[in-house]
Amino acid sequence: MDFTFSEEHEMLRDMTRKFVENEIKPLARQIDEQEQIPPELMAKMREQGFFGIPFSEDYGGVGAGETGYCVVLEEMGRGSASVAVVLAAHTSIGCMAIYLDGTEEQKKKYLPALCSGEKIAAFALTEPGAGSDAAAISTSAVPDGDDYILNGSKIYITNGDIADVISVFAVTDKALGARGGVTAFIVESDMPGFSRGPKERKMGIRGSGTCELYFKDMRVPKENVIGKVGFGFVTAMKTLDVGRLSLGGACVGACKELIDLSIQHASQRVQFGEPIIRKQAIQWMLAEMAAETFAVESMVYRAAWMCDHGLKVSRESAIVKMYASEALDRVVDKAVQIHGGIGYMQDYPIEMFYRDARINRIFEGTNEVQRMVVASDLTRKGRY
């Protein structure tokens, strides 16, 4: 077994780390307070090629695969969860549906501008009445000549405020439901009938925009169907399988950064006559944080390797998402505790990491849904 990262991955990591140190970390607090990524930073990220990391160079991507992408997200996760989430929603679910199930024409039409970051993508499945129960979506798509007419709304859509190209899931046959009745569409934000709601005000990842999307008698050409009519649910699940994995990557980065910050703090904070890092209580917390981080890092990159080698990762990516998000919550909780009072203050990044972490157990499929996916796989196979 070769557990080393390739030259490409190491160089991508170094480059991203430098970019995060110089360009993202100094702005992380501002991004949180102003609830926006500054346009100048988005422009620099475009120049660095961050918007097309896993995709083939044939479509304008960087060609670094799922592993290279997890490496980049890990480094981003050290600096700003908001930035990591904007990038991840664009790449791993927004673009991914088109990349996995789009026709050659659709890929050539949409991916180059998405990979360059000139256009931003989003993934629109969730509705007010359909969160975990994604099959209960009610946005409708009725055929009309050469088009479909879409009516309905989506809620809590990451990048909903800035997306130009959105993968939208709508019901084409109510009777069939999720099995054959849902279709995926490529929607462009300038299509008549498309509108967006105001940005939600959130606990964390405040720099990433989350909002409702509305479709009112919106005409979408038949050429914009992703994959096959009625197979939208398959496309959604396939896309989420890959998308969940990279969430783990960002969690790894946050865990490592939190450990580093905690070590630094505990090495300087003197109480009872010595730096608190000499106290066993603190040492054990750090050891447990390291163990969690090693576990998450190992499973993320193993699953990414499987993905890059064409192996099915449904169960593994559900495990990664579930475990990484829960591990990060444990790590960030300990980081707050090690920092004590200062860990609660906005002068210091720890409290931002704490607020930013919580969403990971909820979005991209709640951890309850992940447990359903894993359990269903186990019971179906009758073994591990």
């Binding site: 030259e7 160089m11 480059m15």
Partner: protein, 228 residues
């Protein structure tokens, strides 16, 4: 113009820590480009005009390839690695012999740039020795340069001030004098896949006594921090 850039592979000191009077490295075996050499790459790139060719040269083991690839990612066209085991373990004199031979072998060049000092020994030997071996003009602690006709005009750090040299010339670049550009993801991937040109000591027509440990005038016996 043809510009040669000499890059010394050095340990990655960004994650080094001190333990029991020794400097310990977090990641063993990882080599990066000497920081001043990255400043030299940046200076060379800032001078580049249409049609110019930039080639990087390194003496080192295969871990030195990492250091070379950074230069490729920044925009250098080609990289020559003398990874012949005979050439390893040299000091400034031995390395300068090898680099000068490698540059002549790939020459002729209008300009040779390298960092003025390395983070390993801080000896600052190579640039001057290269200039002698190549028969070129030489200046050190260079912070910026412009080329005009057959001359290069330079600014230097400290009290040395400005100067003008005829081409061909060797410029020893002052550490930290510029901000080495950050390559983007596409450049990184391209550089990671680009083949390096591997050069042996016999390719260069050098004798074993001139290179590596055998060719060194200085042998490092011990390096440690003072007892505190």
């Amino acid at each position: 113009m043809r510009i040669a850039i000499c890059i010394k592979p050095v340990p990655d000191l960004s994650t080094a820590y001190v333990s029991k009077s020794r400097v310990e490295l977090v990641e063993q075996g990882k080599e990066v480009a000497n920081p001043a050499d990255e400043n030299a790459v940046e200076l060379a790139l800032s001078l580049r005009q249409e049609g110019d060719e930039l080639i990087a040269f390194t003496v080192g083991a295969d871990t030195a390839a990492d250091a070379l690839r950074r230069a490729l990612a920044m925009g250098v066209e080609r990289a020559h690695l003398v990874d012949d085991p005979v050439a390893q373990g040299g000091d400034g004199l031995a390395d300068a012999n090898v680099l000068a031979a490698a540059i002549k072998h790939a020459g002729p060049f209008d300009l040779v740039v390298c960092g003025a000092r390395s983070v390993v020994h801080d000896a600052g030997q190579v640039a001057g020795r290269l200039a002698e071996a190549l028969g070129m003009a030489h200046a050190t602690r260079v912070t910026s340069a412009t080329v005009n006709g057959g001359k290069v005009t330079i600014e230097r750090a400290g009290s040395l001030g400005a100067a003008e040299l005829p081409l061909p010339a060797v410029l020893a670049v002052e550490p930290g004098c510029n901000t080495p550009r950050l390559p983007n993801a596409m450049a990184v991937m391209k550089a990671a896949r680009k083949p390096l040109e591997h050069v042996t000591v016999s390719d260069l027509g050098l004798a074993a006594e001139e290179v590596g440990e055998a060719g060194a005038a200085v042998r490092l016996r011990l390096m440690q921090l003072p007892e505190s």
